[in-house]
Structure formats: structure tokens, C-alpha cells
Subunit: 211 residues, 2 copies
Amino acid sequence: MPTKKGTASGGTRRTPATGSRAANQRADAQRNRAKILAGTVTAISRNPDASVADIAAEAGVGRVTLYGHFQNRAELIEAALMDSLERGEDVLSEVPLDGEAAAAFQRLVASSWVLVDQSRALLAAAQKELPAARIRELHENAEARMRGLLLRGQREGAFRVDLPVSWLLTTTHVVMNGASEEVRIGRLDPEDAPRFIDAILLPAFTQKRDR
Amino acid sequence: MPTKKGTASGGTRRTPATGSRAANQRADAQRNRAKILAGTVTAISRNPDASVADIAAEAGVGRVTLYGHFQNRAELIEAALMDSLERGEDVLSEVPLDGEAAAAFQRLVASSWVLVDQSRALLAAAQKELPAARIRELHENAEARMRGLLLRGQREGAFRVDLPVSWLLTTTHVVMNGASEEVRIGRLDPEDAPRFIDAILLPAFTQKRDR
DNA sequence: CCTAACTAGAACAGCGATGTACGAGATACA
DNA sequence: TGTATCTCGTACATCGCTGTTCTAGTTAGG
């Protein structure tokens, strides 16, 4: 079977089916894989529909080499997104969610904001390339964390209950994304972003106590 | 000069330079132009990067005919956006902006929401095709109207002044867009949208009176 | 230091989209 | 009813991107 001869690091994909974990590849190759993943984020951030050639150039790697690591564009995007989300998970899982709901929400938003700002463009690219279900699946953890907190806040009377949690969640997302976009085009100082986001979301979500 | 022979309604572009207003074209052609403009909106709404062929099919018109009306894709998108914005202007200019700022804001948002929901995808497509400056220019009117209202609200003490108007404006945009997206994927009842939007924006923007 | 793993680059095939050219047919409107 | 205007379909040239193949060179690591 000369077809499977596998140029470049085709050997990486030794394992037949999906879900091949980091195999026994050379240190060299692992470094390149990381470079490609990083390059994908920056290339996509600069231009949402960057070509594979663009990405390879950004990563400082040959286009063919890239194809050695990832079978096609979709797989590349998915890997980059998974990588970003895994890093994000590491950060977010450290955020203490106990105590007052509003304060915990503020902490979680502050940490999430940085991650959103970094991989917003990548997510947008993924939405074109991957089935929506897959995207959902990958975001499951992060989404569940925020949703759980919002629910608890509602139960405890900290957050308003006249709106469904799904809408609070959506609002949180779009405001963070909006801030990220404003930063990108230079209309918002990154320093101000977390404060501005909180300034909108907290009064909007908080249950009014007096009437 | 057989090059300029002008198949189809190339005659439409009789005027040499830019800004050719509706010329003396046949009633037939005018109808088709309208069909194409409408088709562009629906086609783009269904698929953000629909091809010219897709759009022509949606409009029920030959691809070549479309090129008779618009020289290239960019010109088509721009025309469709201009058309949508002009219609929008007709609606928004009727909204009474006097009286209490918060109430006026509510009225303006209610009217804007419908328009945003209709041409959100078109705007996204335009952002890829047209220079950002051109987009800005086209939105000038609508943007100025909302900005003026927010400013007045700040001066009158109705809206908070600890955030710049630009951020209030951005927030308004992203929340409306978010609602539109949620409607599109069927997670939000269009009926609820205006109420949900207000429920977020008003408490977020309103100056707290007591402390 | 030797071999297997990895990389680079050029070249190629395939696809889909854009924009143009042509020829013939349909339709408004005077 | 006649003619300029408009439309349609097909066909074509071009371009950029994807994914593959081949060859030759470089590097990691036992």
C-alpha cells in the first residue's frame, strides 16, 4: 500500500481512527505541532478566513508539513480550538465559585474575558468549519460552569428570575465578545474591558431589592 | 468598440462614474433589480457567504442578468445594504425621540431591533466585502441618532455617566445582534426579543438614584 | 554515527467562484 | 407592430484554495 506511505509526519497519524492522542513522536515534531497550533490562532485572529498557506507561513512551517500533522483544514481548526479550550479549562477550573453569587460571577467573567479575547476569532472560524453540535460539545464544560453559577444566583435571589438563564448566558457572551471586538479595532482600552463588562452585566442581572 | 456593447442591462450603467442614480430603465428591469436586492438579503441570511450564483437563483434571475445590474459582488452587496439602510431610515426617522430619554430609547430600540434582525447577516457579509470606512459612512445616520439620544440621556441624568457613550452604543448593538442570532437558531421566541433586550439594557444604562 | 523520523519545496489535479463573451429569444413601450 | 431594451443559458478564461505526490535534504536520538 504505497498510498499510506505517509510523507512528513504522517506517522503521527499512526493510530487508525479518531481521538489519536499525542503519540510517540519526535521532540522536533511536537514542537512543530505546537508552533502550528499557536500560528493558527494568530493567523485566524488577523484574518478570520486565512488559508492553510497563511497559517503555515505564520507558524513558520511548510504547508505540506502542516498537512503532515493535520489531515485537512477542519481537523486543524478543531485541534486549535480544542487546545485553546483545554488551556481555558485549566484557568477557569481554578476560579473559586463559592461565596456570594454576584462576586463569583464577577471573578468568572474576569477570567473568561481574557480567554474569549484570545480565541474569539478562532471560534468564529470553527463555526464555519465544524458542525454546530461539535462546537457545543467542546464548550460544554465552560458553558455548564457559567450556567450553574447563574442558576445558583437565581435560586439565592441574587440574580433576577424574570429572564431565563439561557438569555443571561447569551448576554454574557455577546457583551464579552463585543468588548473583544472593540479592543481589536482600537476603540477600547483592554485595561478597561473587564470593568466595562461588569458595569453592564451586574446591574442588568442583579435582582432589584427595593421598589 | 464592441467591448462596451453591453449585454443585458449594461445600459443601466450608462453613467460613467460612480453614484449613478436610478436611470431611465424599463419597468421590467427595475422590477428585476428589486428582486435581486430582495434575493440578496434572503440568500445571505440563509448562508452568510452565498455565491453570486446562489443569490441569482434566490432572486429567480439568471446569473448574467445579475451582472448586468451590478458590476461585481461588492457592488451588489453595497447596493443591498444601502437599500436596507434606506428603508430603515424611513422607519427610524418616524420614531419620536422627545420626552423621557429612557422611554425614547425603548421606542428606538424596539424599532431598530426589527431592522437589525432583518439585515444582520447582510451587514456581516458587507463587512467582508466593503472597506470598514464605507460601512461606517452608510451607518452614519442611524448611529448618530442613537448616540444623540444616549448623550441626551446622560445630560439629563437618566443614563449613567461612568461609562462612555461609545460603550453604551456597542452594548446596544451586541445585545440586539445576540437576540437576533438566538432567534435564528430557534432558541428565542421573536415575540420575547424586544422585552428581553429592554430588560437587559434599561437596568444596565439607567442611573441609580438611591444608594 | 546511522537510521528512521521529520521537513521543505515544487509540481500537479480538482474544485468552485468570479467575471466576461456570445447568440438567440422574450418583453416593454412608443 | 417594430425596435431598442432586457433576459437567458452556455461556454470560457482565470484565479485561489485544498489536498496529494515526489524528491531531496535535515535532524533527533538510540
